[in-house]
Subunit: 266 residues, 2 copies
């Protein structure tokens, strides 16, 4: 199989984090069109997309206090509501991909994964591998997953994509890089300046300086993204964090492997 | 675990088969309310729901000629469109269950199953088992599945529920019965009269007499339903086929185990 590229569409990029259940359709349309053009320009590329949840699952996650173990009947309703919200947004992304001529199918993490003690225990990745063989893009997302110990646990899109990449690697299916599309130019220092490169050593020195991300993020924000990326770097998977907002066709360039402004983590 | 009951909501019952992408919201509301009342009356009941696709996946399935092997790029688009359509209707069912106070979560067959040569090869049922432990209802549906040989293959809700029941049985999780909700009183003979009971012997004699079901059905209709039911009967799983249209709270009664008008297959 060709080398695979993961594309993360950030939750705060594709939804209005100030308004519950509000997708930014213009941004989603733009990103999906860039994906279409990239795959036309280089048909050998194989993509896996993961969309963040943003203001969709965030509201029920906060309302039903879904950060810890499930202890009440109310939280079981919360489990269902968070899953429904996350799946709703994923449908919008897949629909827009299809509308723009990109062959894409939902891969529903809560149907493919079970966790135990907050860690992914089993991940049924076979449908994803089969979709890639057909050159259809699987579209995953941050989701709430059954946990044998805690009842349920929310996993970020980053966590799910990382776990997927590592499990594919064990099956000799190589992921070359992951492209994060967010609201900033990349990782910023405490003066708001772009940090163009991060590795393990540099990260240890700068960990305290991270700017808080705009809006809220039920699964962690920029610090979490960098930590997941360093974990992938140990497995020779490079991360590129770019600005997903409109101008410059940055996502298309990043997919095609051109140099583009952002933060590289390797 | 308590004994489990499967509930099939027929595609021609919950959608307008004459109009593409049209859900019958009044019928769906009524059925989901019956499910709510049944689970309130007997909280020990554990349910798994499967919704048919009706006029949602049918149109793209016909448009893209999805009955056989995937041979063209057009059919790959068809694969995506059929999956999207089936998932859209499933979201409507889950949302209405939640609106009526039923704890329910989508279990996406195309994310849990891969097929080979038109048969289900692997079925990752762990999330379904975990949801049942939490007393949350998994909601499956007829779906288009990756097939290692054919590319993709459409499986009916009946096929998926049957396969699930048999795989659960192997794990010592017993399914007691399956309740089909359709547009007729049950299985009808060639004079339109209800056949109250069918077993293997009776079926062989009557096979030629089946009425055609109203509307169309991409995955088979009443004959297919009876054949799947006889397969389950061999494994001590009883089928009850009832009329899902409104009056008499038939679904609620059938869930609670009361006698109700319909066809029993065992």
């Amino acid at each position: 199989m060709e080398k695979i590229i993961l594309v993360k569409l950030g939750g705060s990029l594709i939804t209005d984090k100030e308004k519950p259940f509000t997708a930014k359709m213009d941004v989603i349309d733009n990103l999906t069109r860039q994906i279409k053009r990239a795959t036309e320009e280089d048909p050998t590329i194989r993509l896996i997309i993961g969309n963040g949840g943003g203001s969709y699952p965030h509201y029920p996650a906060v309302k039903y206090k879904m950060s810890g173990e499930i202890k009440s009947e109310e939280q079981k309703i919360g489990f269902c509501e968070v899953q429904d919200a996350a799946a709703q947004l994923n449908r919008i992304i897949v629909r827009q991909l299809l509308n723009n001529g990109v062959k894409a199918i939902s891969a529903n993490p809560s149907s493919m994964i079970i966790a135990k003690n907050g860690k992914i225990k089993e991940f049924f990745i076979e449908p994803i591998i089969e979709l890639l063989k057909l050159n259809i893009i699987p579209v995953l997302y941050g989701d709430i997953i059954c946990d044998e110990k805690f009842g349920a646990k929310i996993f970020s899109t980053e966590q799910i994509l990382s776990e997927l990449a590592l499990r594919m690697k064990k099956r000799k299916i190589e992921v070359s890089r992951i492209i994060h599309n967010g609201m900033t130019k990349g990782v910023l220092d405490n003066k708001g300046q772009l940090i163009e490169f991060i590795d393990e050593g540099k990260f240890k020195k700068m960990k305290q300086c991270f700017f808080k991300t705009k809006g809220y993020d039920v699964t962690g924000g920029m610090l979490h993204k960098v930590e997941e990326s360093l974990n992938l770097a140990k497995n020779n998977i490079k991360t590129i964090i770019i600005n997903g907002v409109f101008q410059e066709d940055l996502l298309k360039k990043a997919i095609l492997g051109y140099d583009c402004k952002g933060t590289v983590i390797s």
